[in-house]
């Protein structure tokens, strides 16, 4: 039984499940390290998923699809940034509103453009890359994901930008007193989270389902936030947590054969998320000024 759990098949499946979560969680890291809570990741993923299908469908080029996905995510994030940073509106309210908007917008555009209610036409996924040496194929997005994880770990913890980003989340007043533009840095964190979240959504529609379905993110944006918390707001930690969630997803497919009703299996990721949140209380500490608007 143990061997079958860790079979290659399961691990690969877990990795694929983890991809959208990881992109979103990475985005969350940038935003929250800068001090802005981004509940809108769910909506960002959704518009990213839609954008990917839109771009690919009309140009036949899935890379254009990725670009469109990133820009859609970027735009939603821009609204969130303006409302939360410049107008200092409560970040949860803003995020929730944007999630509602994303749901409406994507279905609206889907019906308008594809003339279909629930889902878009099917599209081809990305051309897979061959893995040199080992053989087999891998989605380019997975490679991009790993690159993003490693780059982000370096950027956030070893560069000048990352230092300033983290300072804005831990003590924006200290950063401000030293001439750092808290506003600009926080905006950048949120906008990056938009682009990354969009990529996460793109994987869902482009590589996973090969179609856009209304509401297809089903809470992944929130699960990604829990993974980010579990991963202590670090890129590598977030990936680890997302992988665990992905493993749970992959395993639950197995459970389906065992006679447990599917709906209970469906609940598992959400229950795990709640347990994770309770479990990390006290041990995982958010950036000190996360969610606190910066007022001079």
């Amino acid at each position: 039984m143990i061997e079958s759990i860790f079979s290659l098949e399961i691990l690969v499946s877990a990795l694929r499940m983890a991809v959208p979560l990881t992109f979103a969680a990475l985005g969350g890291v940038y935003s929250e390290r800068g001090g802005v809570v981004n509940i809108a990741l769910e909506g960002i993923m959704l518009v990213g998923a839609f954008g990917a299908v839109l771009g690919t469908y009309f140009t036949g080029n899935s890379w254009i699809g990725l670009l469109v996905a990133m820009s859609f995510g970027f735009l939603i994030a821009l609204i969130h940034a303006i409302v939360s940073i410049t107008f200092k509106i409560n970040q949860v309210v803003s995020g929730t509103a944007l999630n509602i908007m994303a749901t409406g917008l994507t279905t609206f555009l889907s019906r308008l453009i594809f003339k279909a209610a629930g889902s878009s036409p099917h599209i081809d996924g990305m051309v897979q890359w061959h893995i040199p040496g080992i053989g087999g194929e891998i989605s380019p997005l997975i490679v991009i994901m790993f690159v993003c994880i490693i780059l982000s770990q370096i950027i956030i913890f070893r560069t000048k930008y990352g230092l300033r980003l983290r300072a804005c989340g831990e003590n924006p007043y200290a950063a401000d007193s030293l001439g750092v533009s808290v506003l600009k840095v926080r905006y950048s964190g949120v906008l990056i989270s938009g682009a990354l979240g969009g990529l996460g959504g793109a994987f869902l529609s482009l590589e996973h389902a090969r179609v856009f379905v209304e509401g297809m993110t089903t809470g992944r944006g929130f699960i990604a936030l829990a993974a980010m918390i579990f991963g202590r707001w670090t890129p590598i930690g977030s990936f680890g947590a997302c992988f665990l969630f992905g493993l749970a997803e992959a395993l639950r497919m197995r459970l389906e054969g065992l006679g447990i009703p599917t709906q209970f299996i469906q609940m598992i990721p959400y229950i795990i998320t709640m347990l994770v949140l309770v479990g990390v209380v006290g041990r995982a500490v958010a950036p000190a000024y996360d969610g606190v608007p910066f007022e001079k």
Binding site: I39, I79, V83, F87, K88, I89, N90, V92, V93, S94, T96, A97, L98, I100, M101, T103, G104, L105, T107, F108, R111, L112, T218, G219, F222, L225, A226, P261, Q263, F264, Q266, M267, Y270, I271, T273, M274, L277, V278, V281, G282
Partner: protein, 359 residues
């Protein structure tokens, strides 16, 4: 006093106007005439009695949902889990309705109370997690939404599925007559208002209005309401005044969940007379918009619910008579939330600066 009312309506009013203007821009970009589209939107809803009937029917669940969100806001909490509380409460009511067969005067209150209890417990879970562990209620309430949908989906597909049903969407069998809330058209027709029998407006609306009163009463006239508001406004000074913020958090989430639990009554007991899988298409989320637009005030919530009731009714017509997809309404809804939040904030800052009394 009048001045105060006007100022408080300012932000919501302009937010709605601006949102519609934005919508108009989108419509123009789509190549349609916004005047025509908006005319279609509103003419089906408010120009005739039947239309109003549908509007009020639509508004009923929004009132409960708005009250639930508003109560939580007053306590300083975000209840994004109303959607889940609606499903749980609705199923609870349906369960009473198909299991117990009593005369209406007993059956209905039983169903209502059970819906409130189950909805309340569903709200208490994140409330407890917050009070005891400090876990933020936002993600927890959202997770519980998904869990509730899966749970009720299971229940309605398996133990409680109606035998030999024709409807492809799973549903329970029909409720006993004691749990069926009658429509209002007979009464209205009798008193001279001619309304068609196809209008599903039912007495749940009065239940909703009653709970508006109860919620107002709770917040303004009871000790619990006082403590809920105190903790929501200033937990530090509240602690000082001998109030226990953790305990109040749990009470607030329970009561909020209880209100949410009633959100599905209009559909389950007043319209379909059974629990239909997935019947709520975002009532819980509309509640957030309603609470914000109505400024967490029962009167405001009633008006906001009517507005969204109009939009929902009009959305249907929009689909049929125009080329503009009805989801534009949802987008407008989200834009309203943002504009209202920004407007409220700006006006609050302006007022605080202007109104300092000098003695």
């Amino acid at each position: 006093m009048i001045r105060r009312v006007i100022i408080s309506i300012l932000a919501p009013f302009f937010a709605v106007i601006l949102a519609f203007l934005l919508g108009a821009v989108v419509i123009v970009l789509l190549g349609e005439n916004p005047f025509y589209v908006y005319k279609v939107l509103f003419s089906n809803s408010i120009t005739n009695v039947d239309g109003w009937g549908y509007v009020l029917f639509n508004a009923t669940p929004f009132i409960f949902s708005g009250l639930a969100v508003a109560l939580a806001f007053k306590g300083g909490l975000f209840n994004i889990g109303v959607e889940g509380q609606i499903y749980m409460g609705a199923f609870a009511a349906a369960w009473i309705g198909i299991t117990v067969n009593l005369p209406p005067v007993l059956e209905m209150p039983l169903a209502f109370l059970f819906a409130m209890l189950i909805g309340g417990l569903w709200g208490l879970i994140p409330g407890f997690l917050k009070a005891r562990f400090g876990a933020h209620e936002v993600i927890n309430t959202i997770m519980l939404n998904f869990i509730a949908m899966a749970l009720t989906n299971y229940l309605v597909n398996n133990p409680f599925k109606e035998q030999g049903q024709i409807n492809p969407i799973p549903q329970t069998k029909e409720l006993y007559s004691g749990a069926i809330i009658p429509r209002v058209y007979p009464l209205l027709n009798k008193i001279g208002i001619s309304i068609s029998s196809s209008v599903p407006l039912n007495y749940t609306l009065f239940l909703a209005l009653l709970f508006c009163f109860f919620t107002w009463y709770l917040l303004e006239r009871t000790r619990w309401g006082y403590e809920i508001k105190a903790v929501g406004l200033n937990p530090k000074a509240s602690r000082y005044g001998g109030i226990n913020p953790a305990y109040i958090t749990m009470i607030t989430m329970f009561l909020s969940g209880a209100l949410g639990g009633l959100g599905g009554i209009n559909d389950v007991m007043g319209y379909r007379y059974r629990f239909l899988d997935g019947f709520s298409h975002g009532i819980g989320f509309t509640g957030i918009a309603v609470a914000l637009l109505g400024k967490n005030n029962p009167i405001g919530i009633i008006f906001a619910s009517i507005l969204f009731g109009i939009l929902d009714r009009g959305a249907l017509a929009m689909d049929v008579f125009t080329n503009t997809p009805r989801e534009l309404i949802k987008v407008i809804q989200a834009v309203i939330i943002i504009f209202v939040a920004v407007g409220n904030e700006l006006i609050f800052r302006l007022l605080t600066r202007l109104e300092r009394e000098r003695e």
